[in-house]
Structures are given as C-alpha cells and as structure tokens.
C-alpha cells in the first residue's frame, strides 16, 4: 500500500472541500473494497477523507410515500430495516444475498454503489487492463472470462458490476442524491453507472469531489410480487454468475407492471425496456416470460468462458419471473431454487 494522508471530515462541505482540494484524494467509509484495492496497489489515493462521522446514517420517510436512505446506513442495517423488509422486500433480499454479514456490517449504501469490478485482471498488476491502466488493453477478452459480461460490452472492457443491492435499486428506480463543489444534485439510478465504451476507467457519472449523501426510493415497492434470484458457484458468499431482480404488479392473472434487471452480466444492472413492455397487459405464464427473456438475451455476446451465461441468464430470468408471479420469492437462507 502506498503512503497516504488521512483526515476526518467534520461536515459535508468540509468533506467535499477536502477532496476537491487534492486531485488524488478519495472519500472512505466502510472501506471493504477500497482498502482491499489499496493493498493490491490498484487504488493509490494520496489522501483519504474519513466521512463516517457525517450525519448520513438515517432512514427517513419522504413525501409521496418513499424512503430516503442515508449514504452511511450499513448494508446489514438496511437489510433488516422494518420499513425495507415490509415495503421493499426485493431490496432486503438482494442485500442479504451480497457478501458476508461481517462485510455488510462494514459496507455503506453509498460505498456499495461505488464498488469496482472483481474482474481478475483488474486486480492483477502484471496484466493489461483498460480499467486499471487506460490504453493498455483488455486481458479478459481472449483470457479467462467466466465471470465477465455478456451485455453492453465494448472492445475495451468486459467487466461486470459486482453489486447485488444495485440490481434491486435499478428495478425500484431509486434516485441518488449527491453533494459536490457546485451544490446538490439528483441522479436517476439508470444514469448513475456507465457502460464501459472506450473509457472503462469511469464507472459512474459522479464528478471528482461529489459525495453520495442518500438514496431515495419511490413509493412503489413491489412488495407482493417480487424476487431476487442469485445464481453463483457456491451457496453463499460468492459473486453472481447471473442474478435477477423482479418486481411485478398483477391484476387478476394479468401483468399491469413488470420491471426486472439482471446482475452479473454487464458493467451496470441490466434492464431492457422492450422486454418489460412485452409483458405488460399479458397473462402471467412461462411462455410470455420466455419471450421477454429472449428479447433481453438476443443481443448478448459470449466470450468463450462466459458464453454459458446467455442460457443461464435466459433461464434464471424465466424462473425469477415465475417466482415473482406466484408470490414465492427466493429465500436467501434455504437455497433450494423455488
């Protein structure tokens, strides 16, 4: 780990000013990803601004029936928060599917959004990686790419975003509140993370010095018909090969609203408006779910090691839509896939 300066921020403006003042400075809160990457010399901040003392640890009701979640709320606290369990059980389920309880006790909501990819080449300083060292090349293309992306890839990068929580936030259409040197702004969840394109080193649309202060959930929580289904190499504590978050609103047996996102397949949680629209107004059933899944996966591209994800993604999506329609969401402790 390289030498770095450390200081504690007293308030939000102080935190922002300290990062703005130094180009290589970063905020730190849970540290579960940043400290790990610093040990590997992948991240080399010259200064860390500790934001854990800022007053951003509350979960509050907001006008219109939604919920505002402070950026410093722990992943574990949010997973078991009574309002989240009752009104946004898909989010609770996704949080429980991610990492381990020790890491969930450390990790914050804001930091979860800023996790960097777990692509093995990003961590391995002896290999080329456009995300770590722009212009050096992508070792995953033509390399070991079993965990890599099949959707939204570019010639520069086929990394995936590792978060489970973000897959649920994508379906819930959360908003990200940030404060920066030019004041506050709000970013729609779909606009927060970026596809790799030819600048895979930029994973989000945050500017230097902007601090995430809260996530806002709209009232619509899909509490009756939802699931978070995560397929991985072991039963717990592993990153997704493919995961699916689904929220449905049913009227009789008909689908009034359908939203779903895939994790583990792209540089950001993957939604497809055409596939969602194809379900609206239809009677819920495996045949229409398969049609929607085909729309999502028809543009998928495998790279050899990860080509199995195309079929896996299609089947996981059909299964997850069925779980949500039946009202039998996937349990995160009994791992038998319902």
């Amino acid at each position: 780990m390289i030498a770095f300066h450390y200081s504690r921020a007293d308030n939000i403006a102080d935190a922002v000013n300290q990062v703005v003042a130094t180009s290589g400075a970063k905020f730190v809160a849970g540290g579960t990803n940043l400290v790990d990457l610093m040990k590997m010399d992948v991240e080399k901040p010259v200064k860390l601004i500790d934001v854990t003392r800022l007053p951003l640890g509350k979960v509050e009701e907001i006008a219109g029936g939604g919920l505002r979640i402070g950026a410093l709320v722990r992943n574990s606290d949010l997973a078991y928060h009574p309002a989240v369990e009752r009104r946004y059980p898909m989010l609770s389920s996704a949080l429980r599917a991610g990492a381990s309880q020790q890491l969930r006790n450390m990790a914050t909501v804001g930091g979860n959004l800023l996790q960097r990819t777990r692509c093995a080449y990003f961590y391995d300083l002896t290999t080329a990686c456009n995300k770590r060292e722009p212009g050096s090349g992508c070792s995953a293309i033509g390399g070991l790419n079993r965990m890599n992306a099949i959707l939204g890839t570019s010639d520069a990068c086929i990394a995936v975003h590792p978060s489970d929580m973000c897959v649920a936030l994508s379906v819930l259409e959360a908003k990200v509140r940030v404060t920066g040197p030019r004041g506050e702004r709000e970013i729609a969840f779909a606009d927060f993370h970026r596809l790799p394109g030819d600048t895979p080193q930029h994973e989000t649309n945050l500017n230097h010095g902007e601090l995430i202060t809260a996530i806002e959930l709209p009232a619509r929580g899909f509490a009756s018909n939802y699931t978070y289904l995560k397929i991985r190499d072991r039963l717990s504590y592993a990153f997704a090969l493919v995961s699916v978050a689904v929220g449905l609103e049913l009227e009789g047996g008909n689908i009034r609203e359908a939203r779903f996102a895939l994790g583990g397949v792209a540089h950001k949680p993957w939604r497809n408006a055409e596939a969602e629209a194809a379900l609206r107004g239809k009677a819920a059933g495996e045949a229409v779910f398969a049609q929607a899944a085909d729309i999502v996966l028809r543009e998928a591209k495998g790279f050899g090691g990860n080509s199995f994800k195309i079929d896996l993604g299609r089947r996981a999506l059909v299964r997850a839509l069925s779980q949500a329609a039946r009202g039998t969401p996937q349990s995160q402790s009994n791992k038998k896939i319902a």
Partner: protein
C-alpha cells in the same frame, strides 16, 4: 549528481512514511492511545502493537473471516479495517470473551462439539458467532449456515460449528 534535486526530492518523498495519526480505542476493556501509520490495519495493530495474537491473519483480503473481531458489538473483518478509523470505538477480540476465568459459552460449545480441527479459523468463527447471536436473526441451521458464510473452515468442521452455535444459543 546525475539527476536534478527536484527529482531527488520526489524520490525521497515517495519513500517517507505518511504523517502518523493519533488513535484512542478500547480493546477488551483496556484503553489504548497509539500513534499509527494510516496504512495500519486493525488486524496488524492487534497482533503487532498490542501482542494480541488470537486474531488470525488468513487471506488478508476480507474473504476468509479468520480476522473477525467485534467493533462496538458488530462483527467485522479487521484486515480491511483501517485502525485510524476505529478512534473512540470498543473492540472485542477472542481474548476478551472469557470472563472471570470462565470460558464464554461459545468457547465451551466449540470444545464440547469438537468444532475445529487445525483451529486457525476458530477465533474468527467464535467472534463471528458471538456477533450472530447478538444480532438475533438466525434460528434454524440453514440461517446459521447462511449468516456464518463469511467464515471459511478449510478443515471442513462446519457441521460441528453449527451444532456448537446452536448449543451456545441456548446458553446466552
């Protein structure tokens, strides 16, 4: 000199230690005031500065759970915790669980159920299980396994670890 003094200064400044930071925290009920390099992890400070060798370094990447300790009652991995960020907090390690010469119920349960083989992961398993019991979210064996998944046991003593935790749940 074959290179400019500016380059020399830059090379020298790259090698100097970063400014040390004062940190005060409590470990197993004892107050400590330390001056630390910001790079120090809590794990290294416990083992190298405070001679508390019960907390183990396994992967040092947050993947194995051997370094699990409790901070303000919550289980965390000490290898990914910067010690300078624990200022004002209360840390409990495996050495702090026994009280008045009597083993913690989890320690006794691990012995009763032979819940280890080599023992290297055991301090982390027991601290994690203490956190799990305090959280109160696990009741069934499935739930215990899920919420203990952050602790890897390469000897594979999982069956007995679950049994030991179930025993201790009845005693704490």
């Amino acid at each position: 000199m074959s290179f400019s003094s500016e380059a020399a200064n830059r090379a020298a400044s790259h090698d100097v230690a970063p400014p040390a930071v004062s940190v005060s925290f409590t470990v197993n009920g004892i107050d400590h005031a330390l001056i630390l390099d910001p790079r120090s992890t809590l794990l290294d400070v416990l083992r190298e500065h405070l001679d508390l060798h019960g907390t183990k370094k396994g992967c040092d990447q947050g993947q194995c759970g051997a370094c699990t300790v409790l901070i303000d009652g919550l289980r965390v991995v000490s290898c990914l915790t910067l010690a300078v960020m624990t200022d004002g907090k209360k840390v409990t390690t495996i050495e702090g669980l026994a009280k008045d010469g009597k083993l913690h119920p989890l320690q006794q349960a691990f012995i009763d159920h032979d819940a280890f083989q080599c023992g290297y992961c055991t301090p982390g398993q027991i601290c994690s299980a203490a956190g799990l019991i305090a959280e109160g979210k696990a009741t069934t064996p499935d739930e215990i396994r899920e919420l203990m998944s952050g602790n890897i046991c390469r000897c594979g003593a999982y069956t007995n670890i679950v049994a030991a935790i179930q025993q201790a749940m009845g005693h704490t």
